[in-house]
Structures are given as C-alpha cells and as structure tokens.
C-alpha cells in the first residue's frame, strides 16, 4: 500500500504557508523567514547535528516554560550553565489549543500583577523577535515541547525563532491531549508541520522531529507505544523529514523498557528501509517516569536517579528529565537546573554500559516484536490509498487504541493490567489485532509469579497503579 503512495509528499507548501501566516495577522513573517534564519545559525544550535556527533552518554533534555520573557531567559541561561544538552521551550496550554487571544490577555494581566497566569511560554503572543532573543549566545539546540493538534502556526514561529527540534505528531499530540479535535485534521496539520520542518532546515542540518511516545503514560502497553511511534515516523518520512526521534516513557519495568527500545530500533530501521526512506536518521529518546511522582523531594530524587540509570540501560540518545517539584507543580528554575546536574552525575557513573540481556528481556522482546509486526501489517493492509487515512481508520476501528486517552474517537476497549515484575500486560485486546498466541502469552505471563499486593478487583488494581511510584 505504502509502496504505491507516490504522491504522499505535500511538495511545495509555500502558498499554504503564506496564507496561514497572513490569516493569523502576523507581521514580518513569510515562508522564507525560517529558512533564512536557520541557515544563519551555528550548527551547534541544530538537534540533527547533535545527534550525528558521537558522545558518551544520553543527551539531557529538561522541560520548562514560563509566561514572561525575562523569566524564560533566566531559565534558559540557568539550564545552559547547568550544561543541559538541549534547551526546552514549553508552550502554555491556551496557545496549545490555538487560543492566542486568551494567552495574550493572561500574559498581560500576569505581567501587571507580577505573577504567572500561564503554564508555559506563549510564543505567538511574544512573537519571533523576542523569542529569538531568548536564545542569544546559547550554543545548544532548542526543543519545542507542547501538546498541540494544530501546531502549524506554532511551528512557523518556532522555526523562525531558531528552534530546531519540534516534538509531537498527529496521534501522539491529539489522542492524549484532546477530546474532540478531529483526528483526520490533526494528522493533516502534522503533515504540514513535517513538510515545513523538511523544507525549512539547511541541507547539512535538517530540522529534527521527535514523536511523543509516553502518550497517556498510564499502563500503555509497548505494542501501542511502538506502533504509534512507527506511524508518526513513516508519516514524517513521507514529508521529507530526514532526522527523527522515536521515544517512549519509563514503564515501571526496566526489562520491558529494554525490550521496547530494541523493538523500536529494529522496526524503525526495517520499515524505513522497506519503504525507501533508508537515509532518514532515527534516534531514540527516553522519558523519565511520566506518571504520578512522590511529593517528598528525597523520594522524587531517587526516582529521577533510577530513571536516569534506565535511560542508560535502554541505550537512549536523549533522556527527557523530571524535577523534584514534579508532584507539586511547575518546577522552579533552581530545581530544574539541579535536576540536570543530578541526572548527569548518575549518567557519568555508568560511562560504558554494554547492552544488557536475560531471559525475561528476550521473552518481552520476542512478544512485543511479534505484536508490533502483526499490528503494523494490519495498518499497511488497509484499503485506503494513503498511510494517513489508514492510520485514521485504524484509530476509528480500535486497532490503534491508547488506554486512558480522552479522545472521543479512541476506542478505549484495550484493557491492560500490571503483572509480575511490574510489567504491563494486555488483559483484553479490544479491537487491537494481535495474534491469538500472543494474547495467550500475555494472559499466561499475567497469571505467573508473585502478584502479592496487586490483588482485588481490576478497578482497585488500576486505581493503585496510578500512584504506583508516588
């Protein structure tokens, strides 16, 4: 199906871009702005460049966004001084939902009252010139962190501001973040973002795209994580993206994490080569625990340290880190910088980790690999002529089903549970097409071993699981 998908690339979207920018009322921005500015930047500012440089440990990526320019600049310089390898720009939730007027109003009111009324940086309200000034003198790549089904204008601003990595995707930034945003439109919006990224970067330093693997971060089984990553990887490849990160979040079982990383790498390489995208460079990103965190700082630090160790074990090229303030709210500048230093301290402790394996990891790897192959072939075998509509169809049919996603078109019929070794197991596949033998293996693995402390009805086990590391 994909092989015959010759016209999937949007091609030249300059007219569409000009229209979008004009409709938004933005002054001083046109389809050439981002390309010219990115070309002028030192290559140290490019994520794709960083990923090509050999290194000894995973790059460290904090998150962070404050409404005011001064505070965001203070955060940026503090993270730079703490030697974060990637600098974040996290966007507020009004801007994520394209409500730029509310974001601007709350920015203004907050600045008058001297307090933060937004949970991130409203890039559209600040504009390109101010946002560029945030990163003056910073010789590191900046990554856009958000959660936006329609990130077209956001990406235009980000690239024109010198941001060289865009996180997200049509599935991963819609199913977990929105109830009603039409999924087909979100997938099309992300085609635009992918095409924009492919077109705007210099030839020797393409704009890097990263998917968001943690999804709802609530008992998502590896097969779903991997399938969503592979779909977004291939959709980006179709638009000409040449540098891409697949990612996933710490699951609670390091064996399952290692197995997931193996399958993600294997399947990415296999599918890119099968569909003629072998020149796309794939990296692997690991998210520290995305579930509920302990409120007690001394415990939160242990989780951050253990999770840094896991990022090393899975061979991640970048780790997205948490802070000890996670349970309380938006981290302070100081604790964010402290978390960067703490994670580097742990990573330096294990300078040369060779890949780890044992029977459990091998079994997980085999099972996840088999499930993923089956699901991906089901997606490729859909009747529609494009990958985009096949993916859309598979969400509607429940073949792609993200547990605990709020989106109204997510089936929510796949039911998972935590089994021995705290590994995530599929209890009922819903409409996710899995081989019968694999479903039987999942159930068998769930029934084995010591499940002490994980008893009672399913709803009680799930409720406990939400706070399993808190």
């Amino acid at each position: 199906m994909l092989g015959s998908d010759h016209d999937a690339c949007l091609g030249n979207i300059d007219e569409e871009r000009a229209r979008l920018i004009e409709t938004s009322g933005t002054k001083g921005l046109d389809p050439t702005t981002a390309r010219l500015f990115l070309e002028s930047l030192p290559r140290a500012r490019f994520a794709s460049h960083a990923y090509r440089v050999p290194r000894h440990h995973p790059y460290i990526q904090p998150r962070g966004g404050f409404p005011s320019l001064n505070k965001q600049r203070a955060l940026t310089t503090a993270l730079d001084e703490a030697e974060a390898d990637f600098i974040p720009l996290t966007i507020d939730s009004h801007t994520r939902h394209n409500d730029y007027l509310t974001a601007s109003r709350l920015l203004e009111t907050g600045e008058k009252q001297g307090r933060d009324l937004l949970n991130g940086y409203p890039i559209i309200s600040h504009g390109v010139a101010r946002t560029r000034s945030l990163f003056e003198g910073i010789e590191r790549p900046v990554s856009l962190r958000h959660g936006t089904p329609d990130a077209r204008l956001l990406a235009e601003y980000a690239l024109a501001s010198g941001i060289t990595e865009i996180e997200g995707g049509g599935l991963s930034y819609t199913l977990p973040y929105s109830k009603a945003f039409p999924l087909d439109r979100a997938l099309m919006n992300w085609q635009y973002v992918d095409r924009l990224c492919a077109a705007a970067g210099p030839v020797d330093a393409p704009v890097h795209r990263e998917s968001f693997g943690p999804l709802t971060a609530t008992l998502v089984p590896p097969v779903i994580t991997v399938a969503v990553q592979l779909c977004e990887l291939l959709l980006a490849a179709q638009q000409g993206v040449r540098s891409f990160s697949v990612s996933f979040g710490q699951s609670g079982s390091f064996e399952q994490d290692i197995a997931t990383a193996h399958v993600l790498r294997e399947q990415s390489a296999k599918l890119l080569s099968r569909f003629g995208f072998a020149d796309l460079r794939v990296s692997l990103v690991f998210h520290q625990w995305m579930g509920a965190f302990p409120a007690e700082p001394s415990l939160a630090w242990q989780l951050i340290a253990a999770s840094a160790m896991v990022s090393r074990l899975v061979g991640a090229e970048k780790v997205v880190i948490k802070t000890p303030d996670e349970a309380i709210g938006i981290p302070t500048i100081e604790s964010n910088a402290a978390a960067v230093r703490a994670v580097r301290y742990v990573l330096d402790m294990f300078p040369d980790v060779s890949s780890l394996t044992n029977e459990v990891i091998e079994e997980e790897r085999d099972l996840i690999g088999s499930e993923v192959t089956h699901l991906m072939e089901h997606i490729f075998a859909q009747a529609p002529a494009s990958l985009l509509s096949a993916v859309h169809r598979c969400v509607l049919s429940g073949a792609i089903d993200v547990p605990f996603a709020p989106h109204e078109h997510n089936a929510g019929r796949l039911i998972t549970d935590r089994g021995p070794g705290r590994r995530i197991r599929i209890l009922a596949p819903g409409a996710v097409p899995l081989p019968t033998a694999d479903i039987a293996r999942e159930r068998h693995l769930l029934s084995l071993g010591d499940r002490a402390g994980n008893c009672g009805p399913l709803w009680e086990r799930l409720l406990r699981d939400v706070r399993i590391l808190a």
């Binding site: 929105s178 109830k179 547990p403 605990f404 996603a405 709020p406 399913l458 709803w459 009680e460």
Partner: protein, 145 residues
C-alpha cells in the same frame, strides 16, 4: 469494555463535568461499574449537565454519576435535579463525586451545597470507589423491589 465483562445490570451514565481533560479516574470508574454488575455509559470528559440528561434519555439509565475534579461543578451543577425532572427523569438517581469545591470546606457544607442542587448522594474527595458502588447497589435495588 463490553468485550471484557458483558455486564447486563442496571444502566449508569457517568462522565466528568466542565473543562477538564483528566480522564484516568473516569475510565477506572467505568471499569469498576462494569465489574460490579452495572452497565456503564461513559461520556468521558468535558460535559455539561444537559449532556447527562440527554444520555439518560437515550440509554434509559437508572442512575447518573457526575464527576468533578477541578471544582467547576460548583457552578456547573446548579439546578441539576430540576433539569432532570423537567426532562421527565425525576426518578433517576443522581450522584456526584470528586474534588467538588476549590479550597478547604467541610464535607457537611459541600454535601448541603450539592444536595441543594438535587443530588441524592455526594462523595467529596473519596479515596476509593467502594462506597459509591455499595450505595448504588443499595439505592437501585431498594428502588426496584
């Protein structure tokens, strides 16, 4: 969920009220209802009271569980009982639970507030769903026999 439990008991409409995307507890509540012998109709997040009224009319459910997590319920739930009665649904059981008000207020005060809106049972900051399922069982079977 129907694949998993095939619950055929009394229908219960559930959902989260207001602009709140936090869906985890809502999904677990639906699983718990099915597991406890009820037939859940889950509206998910971001509903207003009329959505609950419409869903009850459509499904013939006998009870409604409204969740409010961010305190928005205090505004959004005013007049709930009257709106169900106007739709000819005066016999439907109305429960509300979650983090019902912003700030610290006594459970008695919160209970009085939502009873005044027409709710038959109020669960402010519950730590488990067990009392909800027990009350539902008692109230529904008492009503039936």
């Amino acid at each position: 969920m129907s694949d998993f439990y095939n619950a055929a008991g009394p229908g219960v409409v559930l959902g989260v009220i207001g602009h709140d995307i936090h869906v985890v507890a809502n999904r677990i509540l639906a699983i718990g209802l099915a597991e406890s012998g009820f037939r859940p109709y889950n509206l998910g997040t971001s509903n207003d009271i009329d959505d609950f009224v419409d869903a009850t009319l459509e499904t013939g459910a006998r009870a409604v569980l409204v969740s409010s997590i961010n305190g928005e319920g205090e505004e959004a739930c005013a007049g709930t009982g009257e709106r169900f009665a106007r739709a000819g649904l005066a016999e439907v059981l109305l429960y509300i639970g979650g983090n019902l008000v912003i700030g610290e207020r006594s459970s008695d005060e919160v209970e009085r507030l939502f009873s005044g809106y027409g709710f038959h049972r109020v669960f402010h900051r519950p730590t488990t769903f067990r009392p909800v399922f027990e009350a539902l069982r008692r109230d529904l079977y008492h009503a039936r026999f």
